[in-house]
Symmetry: C4
Subunit: 385 residues, 4 copies
């Protein structure tokens, strides 16, 4: 890394200068192209998708039914194998309780902590996966690193297509004095299904996770707009820089393996179609979206948002939101048409148009688009009356 990327905050103590997605933007600099000639297709392992979308494994936006709808719209829905749908035979009353509590604003974190006390029932994992498989879409569930060995077998037995091993921060080397930690490399080598793993925060952790044999690495530490990881833990991962670093790791790993391409999936505060375009422009292959899907009519929590980390029993690290929307169907949110101009609907139609306006045909080419730092952003004063 060149000298200008580090700052000496005090004598001999250095910090890296990182950039978040909203500091970076795209600047058109060459030809333009018809939007009809542009493709947003994405393929990971043997699975093809019309749009580069992986959902967050959040109960707020993903039920088996929503995962199916996402799949039908061209993306990959990820159900949380440690969430409400595997803790409760019928999560309906739990969602109603949360919605009732949200009638006067955001539901309290303490209520979340309470409903997630119910233990996970491995048999429900298989049941949910079969429900999604029966609809003919590509299926994926998320397990945490801590519970992977315990819960993954049920998912695999039910024929899940992709396994997502995701925690806030996942390293290829977890140290413990309490029994054996999950050996990711061994675990993945023994599996028949491709694994997506993360989050990772920089070049080194991304490269190490790639070396475990994963098909995709999630970059970012789940810092959506309601995350409080910075206030609670002092941890912050400027996402544009993290994506670009992980893309560098992808190139280096491709070289060291003579051709294994591991996908970089960006996760964290990607709220608009503009942010999706920026994440891909910085080098991501796909984006993981959660809160931005809560405005869809199909969102199971009726517009409330929380990340699973907000339910931590001793140290919750995320907020909950009051219900919003619905603004339109999931298809409208993902594929348009938009009837508002705030960048929250027609998320991937907008991406195609950005590619057209900058002259790129496919996502891999688009990762080379020119970037600019500085200038007005969407959140600046005077943007909307």
């Amino acid at each position: 890394m060149s000298a200008r990327d580090t700052v000496e905050i005090g004598l001999n103590r250095f910090a890296r200068r990182g950039y978040d997605l909203d500091e970076v933007s795209i600047v058109p600099s060459r030809r333009t192209r018809d939007v009809d000639d542009v493709s947003t297709a994405w393929q990971i392992d043997a699975f093809r998708f019309g749009i580069p979308l992986v959902t967050s494994p959040s109960d707020a936006v993903v039920s088996p039914a929503t995962a199916i709808a996402v799949g039908q719209a061209g993306g990959l829905g990820v159900l949380n194998a440690e969430g409400l749908w595997t803790r409760y035979e019928d999560p309906g009353p739990v969602y109603r309780k949360l919605r009732d509590a949200a009638s006067a604003g955001a539901p309290p974190v303490a209520l979340l902590q309470d409903v997630y006390c119910e233990p996970v029932k491995p048999e429900l994992i298989g049941e949910r996966i079969r429900e999604m498989r029966d609809a003919g879409v590509t299926t994926a569930v998320r397990v945490s690193p801590q519970h992977t060995e315990q819960l993954a077998p049920a998912a695999l037995k039910a024929g899940v297509d992709l396994l997502v091993i995701q925690g806030t921060i996942v390293s290829a080397e977890h140290v413990t004095t309490h029994g054996d930690a999950l050996n990711l490399k061994q675990f993945i080598a023994d599996l028949d299904v491709p694994v997506i793993v993360g989050g990772a925060a920089n070049y080194t952790t991304a490269l190490h996770l790639m070396r475990t044999g994963a098909a995709g690495v999630i970059v970012g530490v789940g810092a959506d707009s309601f995350s409080t990881g910075d206030a609670v833990m002092g941890i912050r991962v400027p996402l544009a820089s993290a994506i670009a670093d992980a893309a560098a790791a992808r190139r280096d790993y491709l070289d060291e393996t003579g051709g294994r391409y591991v996908h970089v999936i960006a996760n964290g505060r990607i709220e608009t179609s503009g942010a999706i375009a920026r994440a891909l422009a910085c080098g991501a292959d796909a984006v993981q979206l959660g809160e931005s899907l809560r405005i869809a009519a199909e969102a199971p929590a009726g517009g409330i948002w929380w990340d699973s980390v907000a339910a931590h029993p001793r140290l919750p690290r995320g907020g909950t939101s009051a219900p919003v929307g619905p603004v339109g169907s999931l298809e409208q949110v993902l594929l348009g048409p938009a009837q508002t101009s705030d960048g929250r609907t027609n998320l991937f139609g907008a991406l195609a148009r950005t590619m057209a306006k900058t002259g790129y045909r496919d996502l891999k080419e688009f990762q080379r688009v020119d970037l600019v730092i500085g200038g007005y952003d969407a959140a600046s004063p005077g943007g909307q009356d």
Copy 2:
């Protein structure tokens, strides 16, 4: 470009550092001059103007009558040949519908989408141009690149003085697999009237547009204060840098042609007389103003603002505003006197005074004025009680 203009956002991924107009300001650094000795005159091709003003082709502020008033005040009014005045024989009821919808705030984008569904009627283009010509002012209409070949003939036949080919982002090389794209260079070569074309976002696109034979190039991507292009498409063009880059392209093109001077017209979030002065100081020859004219009594939409991009049927990229004003006549807005001190009236009288306070006689000289980055801006807290 020197090394300090780029930032390494992540390993081997670079972004340019760009500046917006409100980051840059003018600093007096030499003599002063009497304001009466200063000229704000501007000439493009054979057309002379008292003030360096081109209007946005927005239906919110430009009717044939307003275009005439702008011409009489010394500027160039541009009517949208694909706007309400060419879609409707009598746009009066449409304006009333929008104003009624705006009685409780900004009119909804969906209503805009609706009123712009009416097809353009080429015969109305000629009718509107003749109305403006009859008043004795220089006439100009805007067509989009997509419809130039279809609509320009009607404008030319009606004797338009200047043709403005304007889209959000226009390149000299548009690629399509659906029939032939407009060949700008060929099209302009065949024309008898001068063409202004844009928007362009950087040195390369500006230079390429200059090489098409245009008399003027619009710099900026239409990012007024209500634009949501950054949220929707992730595209942002820091205007001060884009203007300075285009001015460099102007110098290089002047050199490569041995003397063809192509005018740089700045477009985007120029809301105050201070911003006009900054745009010219960065190297622009003229400014394209839209939203700042909506406070004039002559604005046809009664103080509502929208850009045509806000009416896009599938992907609107701009907001609409609740009505404001009127604050004064168009002449007061452009030439004063001002009875408020917010920089929104006497726009070009203020420019003359800035030139006087910094000692410059004409606009071309003024492009060399000293600039400063940093310090308080007009929008900072405590500015106005």
Copy 3:
């Protein structure tokens, strides 16, 4: 100037990076000292002051009576020779009219424009000066460069001690095609009283004004918190940088003359005792205060604030404020004690304490104190509940 002080905003177009007072702060870095051992004394020409204070020549805060009170507290009151006190025999009704208009907020700029239409009466200049002289304080009046030759004689004849020639931006070389401009150097050479002149915005204009023979140069363009010079004219002078530049001009002029020391007086948005300390730390010899005095019980406009530039007939460049205060007597505002902790009272007692906490005995030494850029400022969120 070193390379790192300039920014390339676009190809071959450079801007200086300037700093405002609130970006800079003082950092204690060596010994401490008893506050009783510290002196805030200031001397310009033969005149000695207990505190380094020159008032703005604003009718909002300076009447002959207030000027006397300022003098008695140790500072220099400057009456505007082109203000209400020389336009009206009895300005009382005018002040009342402004206060009445301010009962519902800030008085309108149009009303200011109206009351300043009344012509200046030279005989009143003499009368006001004599009133101040009779009280035994050092006297000073301000004239504009345009009217210096017409109005200064009346002031000189009445025995004024110091003449302040002040406009927003004053250059040593004013160019006009309408008769002769004021030749400052000639004019000052012919005078018996010392002259303070300004505002200047950078090294060059400050140095040129020093060479006119002035005893003091005002640095800054009158940009108080209500100034709209940036919005109206696009002109901005980051004050910390301007002061430091003028201090460099002072050193160079001292060298070129073999010992003439011209005082640098900082003007613009100095609202708190912290800002006073910062201005002096950047190199100023004294500060010119206006709006910060309006909270004194003696302020003639009862807590309303306007700068004379807000009354410009065609292009007002400043706002007016609703009335505030009074918070205490002028003596409390200047010398304490303070009963609030917002930095708006005990302005110069606080300065003495800052000098003590950083170990300096007098103002000249204090100009070397260590500075820091960055960190929390007083206006940051969470500062005061």
Copy 4:
């Protein structure tokens, strides 16, 4: 210091670029670890603590009873030997008066000035210390440098364990013309108990204070969120930089003494568990917390906050806050569990988790964690609905 750490604010006038805690953040970059394997233990001199916490000597949060509770939770409570508990035999009515005054918001500074007019009674110092000693916790009281020689003997006689000599800014060399100043080095050499001294603002003052023989140096000038030191005095100490500088002084002093390790205790606007983690990551050995403890049920002022500097008779430099909370018991605030996700409870449980997520076992190792500048912070818009 390298060139890039200084900024030329004007010709030949330089300022250091400093960073505040919220500009810096932690980025996970290697292994992860079980939270149960992490230790937050801290030891200074012979005293061991479970958590690296020293309280501010503020009457708002520390009574003898609270100091005991802090000690029982694993930290060090510091009672102000010049505060309400040594001015009043029974401070109860004073607290009630402040709480009554705060029923409509923050209590006025003038009331604080009033209640602190009561003289300190040395005999009460001993009484309070004995009360804390009897509870079996490590005891500490704070004296100001001005009153150390007068008041310290009473504290020592009562058997205090640690003496905290703390003022806003304390130097190793205080200059006075009024009798003898405290000679810190001599004073400390003669003592049997370890001394913590501060605040210091940079490398030099920290190093000089280390050379006095102190066991710990407080870094920062008491700039909590209600501090107005910047507005009143123009003094600002970006804390991340100050901590890193003091850590460098600690290393250099360790080297020059061949092994004396002086602890760096960070003080100023540490409001969340995230800020605690950042302070330690920048190099601090412990943190001094005040305002963040006011939400504990045990806070003697019932959730009101003020720093002693807010009570200064002539120049108060801090605000007071309206009452908040209580949010939980002191133990919950310090050790959890948290039922909210704002980083204000379970302060040190969160620290342990940050250490685990970044793979460190103890606080000394954790001082090497990777840092990042930039990116979203907790206070950014959209963080919490």
